[in-house]
């Protein structure tokens, strides 16, 4: 049952991911990305990461992607025009194969031999466990990340103001 659900949601994620690249209209691409996020959230849930799954939905699908769609709608971006980059047409597939080969090689040789994932085995995904880990073991990285995000927000405001002037 778990394996079947995993297959279904993994397939949805992959199909949406391919659709994201293939589609020419920005809105279609953005919604495909939302589909990827939703499928990923379901996969996290299957693996026992309840909090991560909910955060994925609330933050990525519910806030960030809404902003993306909002901006695309606001700018009224039209359909993309395909350029005449013929070399990309011929070089793309071999390059992709080489890339996949490198990744397969890395996974096969470099990664430590891992045992099979068992669904339902991981039980430390609850908000309680994650909160405890964030504010004890990983306190410094957590606070540094929040400062980094604050700097990014301030930078965005500065850049946006310049453009208006």
């Amino acid at each position: 049952m778990d394996a079947l659900l995993f297959m279904i949601f993994a397939a949805i994620a992959v199909v949406c991911g391919i659709n994201l690249v293939v589609q020419t209209h920005p809105i279609s691409s953005a919604l495909s990305l939302v589909g990827v996020m939703g499928a990923l959230a379901a996969l996290y849930l299957l693996l026992g990461g309840e909090f991560i799954a909910a955060a994925q939905l609330v933050v990525y699908a519910g806030a960030i992607m809404v902003l993306f769609v909002f901006v695309i709608m606001l700018l009224n971006a039209g359909t993309e025009h395909k350029g005449h980059r013929t070399w990309a047409k011929y070089a793309g597939v071999p390059l992709l194969l080489v890339f996949l080969g490198i990744i397969a090689n890395l996974i096969a040789n470099r990664l430590p031999a891992s045992e099979n994932v068992v669904f339902g085995q991981f039980t430390k995904g609850s908000p309680l466990e994650i909160g405890r880990a964030l504010f004890t073991t990983y306190l410094l990285p957590f606070e540094v990340t929040s400062v980094l995000i604050l700097i990014a927000i301030l930078g965005a405001i500065v850049l946006a103001r310049k453009e208006i002037d």
Binding site: A54, A61, A63, V66, F70, M73, P127
Partner: protein
């Protein structure tokens, strides 16, 4: 196997009750608004217009379903489905009462085992986050409807809605987080269990009475944000009819329009249920049973029966002389039924839960009949310069009090 059958039956019951409630919520809204404006509201179809929702549904189904020629077809079809889907899903994690126990039934060859099941479709550990996440996705329905209609009024409505929902999601999440600090769980069942009992023997331990002034502020912030999230007056900018025709659903007719309508009312019901569970103690009574809180439903229904008989004495129209006493007798019968402990005890939680949720829904309608609409800049300034800072400070102070009391 039993689990699957019970789950399917529960889902069917919840879906049926929810959809009926949505239809009658609209009837209630028209009636209450009418009385606020000194009218009588619908009363042609059925007694006191009680069959009006049915007539509306038939009207909407049989209307011509036409598609404007200039719309983006795929997204235009998809938008109402998205809106309805993400408004119906959250009801799955909402508990309506404690537990329902049915005795074993033996009818010849048919044997049904004794069943004890929670009055809830599923109890997630992350119920509150689940509702936040799913209802956050509902904005895609509105935004896509506005954009794909290829109409400037619709587009403006969709844009307003997305901006408004993102802005008000922040104070709403913070207003929810503050009481959760004291309750220490994200499961709705756990949240309600944390509100059982009474202070000083009479004041219920509901969340709004717990961390004294701060949780009341959270409740008010939550209700304001809830009005904005559901696009209701005074925050109904996305469908402001004197500026935008009908906003994001201008180009929709027939059942597609009904889908948006349903999604709006369903969101209202969900938000009212969440407010009840988070702040108003869920199914716990407002005063202890030894002061007679279990007799209150019987008392209210007997009162309604007496009212029916009083009105039957001076009927507004000839038919009322016969219909109102029948309704009155029905109310008296219900009052009698609720005096039987075997019936009343399992139903008591559901009654308190629905009573509180209905009060919040009534406030929704009341506000619609009372307040004017915000201007768009006022709406945004209110969210970012008033609600958000207040919510942050409130969260901080609540955390401080909880930490000091622990």
């Amino acid at each position: 196997m039993t689990f699957f059958i019970v789950s399917i039956i529960k889902a069917a019951v919840v879906a049926f009750v929810l959809l009926t409630a949505l239809a009658y919520l609209q009837w209630l809204e028209r009636k209450v608004l009418a009385h606020i404006q000194l009218r009588v509201g619908p009363r042609r179809v059925g007694p006191h217009g009680l069959l009006q929702p049915l007539a509306d549904v038939i009207k909407l189904i049989t209307k011509e379903d036409m598609m404007p020629s200039h719309v983006n077809k795929v997204f235009w079809f998809l938008a109402p489905f998205i809106a309805v889907l993400f408004s119906l899903i959250p009801i799955a994690v909402i508990p309506f009462g404690t537990e329902l126990s049915l005795p074993a039934i033996n009818l010849g060859p048919v044997h049904i085992p004794a069943i004890t099941t929670a009055m809830q479709l599923t109890d997630l550990n992350i119920g509150v986050l689940f509702i936040l996440g799913i209802s956050g996705l509902g904005v895609y329905g509105v935004a896509l409807a506005g954009w794909s209609s290829n109409n400037k009024y619709s587009l403006l409505g969709g844009l307003r809605s997305s901006a408004q929902m993102i802005s008000y999601e922040l104070p709403m999440a913070m207003a929810i987080a503050a009481p959760l600090l004291a309750l220490n769980t994200l499961s709705f069942r756990g949240i309600v269990d944390g509100q059982a009992g009474f202070f000083f023997g009479f004041l219920p331990k509901w969340t709004i009475f717990q961390v004294f002034p701060f949780n009341i502020i959270s409740f008010i912030l939550f209700i304001i944000a809830a009005f904005a999230e559901t696009n209701r007056v005074p925050f109904d900018l996305p469908e402001a009819e004197n500026e935008l025709v009908a906003g994001f659903h201008t180009e929709y007719g027939s059942m597609k329009f009904a889908a948006f309508f349903m999604a709006e009312y369903c969101n209202m019901v969900t938000i009212s249920c969440v407010a009840t569970l988070l702040f108003l103690g869920g199914w716990h009574p407002p005063f202890p049973a030894q002061y007679g809180s279990s007799f209150l439903p019987s008392l209210v229904m007997a009162g309604a029966g007496v009212l029916c008989f009083l009105h039957a004495m001076s009927p507004a129209r000839p038919l009322d002389r016969f219909t109102l006493p029948v309704v009155g007798v029905a109310f008296f019968a219900l009052a009698g039924v609720f005096l039987i402990p075997a019936v009343a005890l399992p139903l008591m939680p559901i009654i308190w839960f629905s009573a509180k949720a209905l009060v919040i829904l009534f406030v929704y309608i009341w506000v619609r009949g009372t307040l004017p609409r915000f201007r768009y800049d006022q709406l945004m300034r209110f969210a970012w310069t008033f609600m958000f800072p207040v919510a942050v400070v409130n969260l901080f102070l609540t955390g401080l009090v909880v930490a000091l009391m622990a």
